[in-house]
Amino acid sequence: MRQTGTGPLGRIRLYVGGLRIGRTVHSLAVPYALDALDPQETRRFERHLEGCPRCTDEVRALAADTVRLAHAASVPAPPDLRDRILTAVRATEQEAPEPVPVVRERGGAPARGRAPVLVALAASAAVLALVAVGVLVLALGRADDRLGEERAATREIAHVLAAPDARAAATRDADGRGLGVVASRARGQAVVAPSRLGSPPDGRDHQLWVMRAGAAPRSLGLLDGETPVVTDDLNGKASSLAVTVEPDGGSVRPTTAPVVQLTLKSVGFGE
C-alpha cells in the first residue's frame, strides 16, 4: 500500500503528527481486529472508523473470524471461579443505561465514559457490596484520564477477591455509617470501603487505622470520601479497622474515639 496512486486522491497525503493519514489507515483493520495495534494506532484507527462505514463492515466481518479463533481456545473455567463471579455480580451495581439525563443537562458532554453511576448502597446489600460496589462503580464512571487509575483499583479488588481465602465483612451503625472489607489473610491484603461517613468537620480529616493486638494502632491513611483503601501488609495481629476524626493532615496516633469500627476476626485476622 505504499505506492503513490495516480488518481486525484492518490496523490494527496496528509501528515499529522508524523503519521501518514489516508489509505494506509485501512490496512490497520486486520491488526485492529486482532488487537495487534499499540494504543496510539488504536485511537487513530477508531477515529477513522467513525467516518468509514466500509471499514465498520470490514471490522465486523473480521470480528467474526477472531471469535472463531477465541472459540478454538475454549477451556472449561474452574468451577469455583463461577461462584466467585456470581457472588460479586450479586453485590455489584450496574452502570446506569444511557442516555443519562444528568449528563445531558450539563450540556453536550458525551455520555460515553462519563455516565454517572448510581452508587446505591442499599442497607440490605450483601457485605461484599460495600467494597465491590464502591470500587467497581468508580472504574468507568469517570473521565477518561482517570480510567487507567481506576482500572488499576478494580484490578486490586479483583486480585483480593481472587485469593482462595478471600472473605468479606461489613458493619453499619444506626445512622448508616459503615465500613466494609474484603481481606485475604494468606496474602495479607485487604480492600477497605467506607460508606456514608459524611464530610469530616471543617479543618479535620477522616483517618483509617488498623488496630493491632499488643501494638499501637497503625495508620492506613486519610480517607477521600468513599474511595476504597487498598492495603497489602496486614498481618495476623490486625484485630480491627477503625475510622477517627483527626486534625487536618492526620495524626500519628488516634486522638478521638472511632466513628466506626470493624472487627477483622470473621475475615481470618486477629488471633
Binding site: M1, R2, S27, L28, V30, P31, A33, L34, D35, A36, L37, D38, T56, R60, L62, A63, A64, D65, T66, V67, R68, L69, A70, H71, A72, A73, S74, V75, P76, A77, P78, L81, R82, R84, I85, L86, A88, V89, R90, T92, E93, Q94, E95, A96, P97, E98, A132, L136, V137, A139, L140, T154, R155, A158, H159, L161, A162
Partner: protein
C-alpha cells in the same frame, strides 16, 4: 437462549440471565484469556474483571457493531492482551517468549480437554495456512504481540505482516465456510 438474546436481559439487571450467559461464555473467555496469559491464577483474575465489567456495562452493547459473543470476547481479549503487554514491559520476558514463539504453543491448552467439533475445524483450518500466515495470526491473537512486534519477530516488513494476517484470516474464513 443465545448470547444475543441474553445480553439485553443482563443489561436490565437479570441475574438469572447472567448465570446463563456465564455458562455460554465462560469457556471461551477463560480459554482465550489463559491462552494469552498462560498463567492460571492471572487468567482467573482477568476473567473476573472481564465478567464483572460485562455485568456492569452490559447496557453499552450495541448490536449494530456485531454479535454479543464477539463483543464479550473482544472485551476479554483486549484485557488479556493489555495484561500480557504490561507484564512483558515490566519484566523482560520478551527474550524467553521469543524463543518459545518458534514453536507456537497453540495446542498446549487446547489439548487439555477433549476437542469440540468447531475447535477441531479451526485447528485443522489453521494448519492449512502458510507458516508465515499462521505465525502472523497466532503471535498477534494468541500471544498478544502488536503487528510491529510480530514483524520484528518474524523479520519481515510491516506491510508483509499485515498482508499475511489478512490472508490468514481470509483463508481461515474460507476454510471454515466450507466446513459449515
Amino acid at each position: 437462549m443465545d448470547a444475543d438474546a441474553l445480553l439485553p436481559l443482563v443489561a436490565r439487571g437479570d441475574q438469572k440471565a447472567f448465570e446463563e450467559l456465564y455458562g455460554l461464555v465462560s469457556g471461551p473467555v477463560y480459554g482465550l484469556v489463559r491462552r494469552v496469559l498462560r498463567d492460571p491464577a492471572q487468567s482467573e483474575e482477568v476473567v473476573q474483571e472481564v465478567l464483572l465489567e460485562l455485568w456492569r456495562t452490559a447496557a453499552r452493547y450495541d448490536p449494530a457493531r456485531g454479535s454479543a459473543l464477539s463483543w464479550i470476547l473482544t472485551l476479554a481479549h483486549r484485557r488479556a492482551v493489555d495484561r500480557v503487554r504490561s507484564a512483558r514491559a515490566a519484566s523482560d520476558r520478551e527474550q524467553r517468549a521469543a524463543q518459545r514463539a518458534e514453536a507456537p504453543a497453540f495446542d498446549q491448552v487446547a489439548e487439555e480437554v477433549e476437542g469440540s467439533l468447531e475447535r477441531e475445524w479451526v485447528r485443522r483450518c489453521l494448519e492449512r495456512l502458510t507458516d508465515l500466515q499462521h505465525q502472523a495470526v497466532t503471535l498477534a491473537y494468541y500471544d498478544g504481540y502488536t503487528y510491529r512486534e510480530v514483524a520484528r519477530r518474524l523479520s519481515v516488513p510491516l506491510g508483509t505482516v499485515k498482508t499475511r494476517m489478512r490472508d490468514g484470516l481470509l483463508r481461515l474464513r474460507d476454510c471454515l465456510g466450507a466446513a459449515a
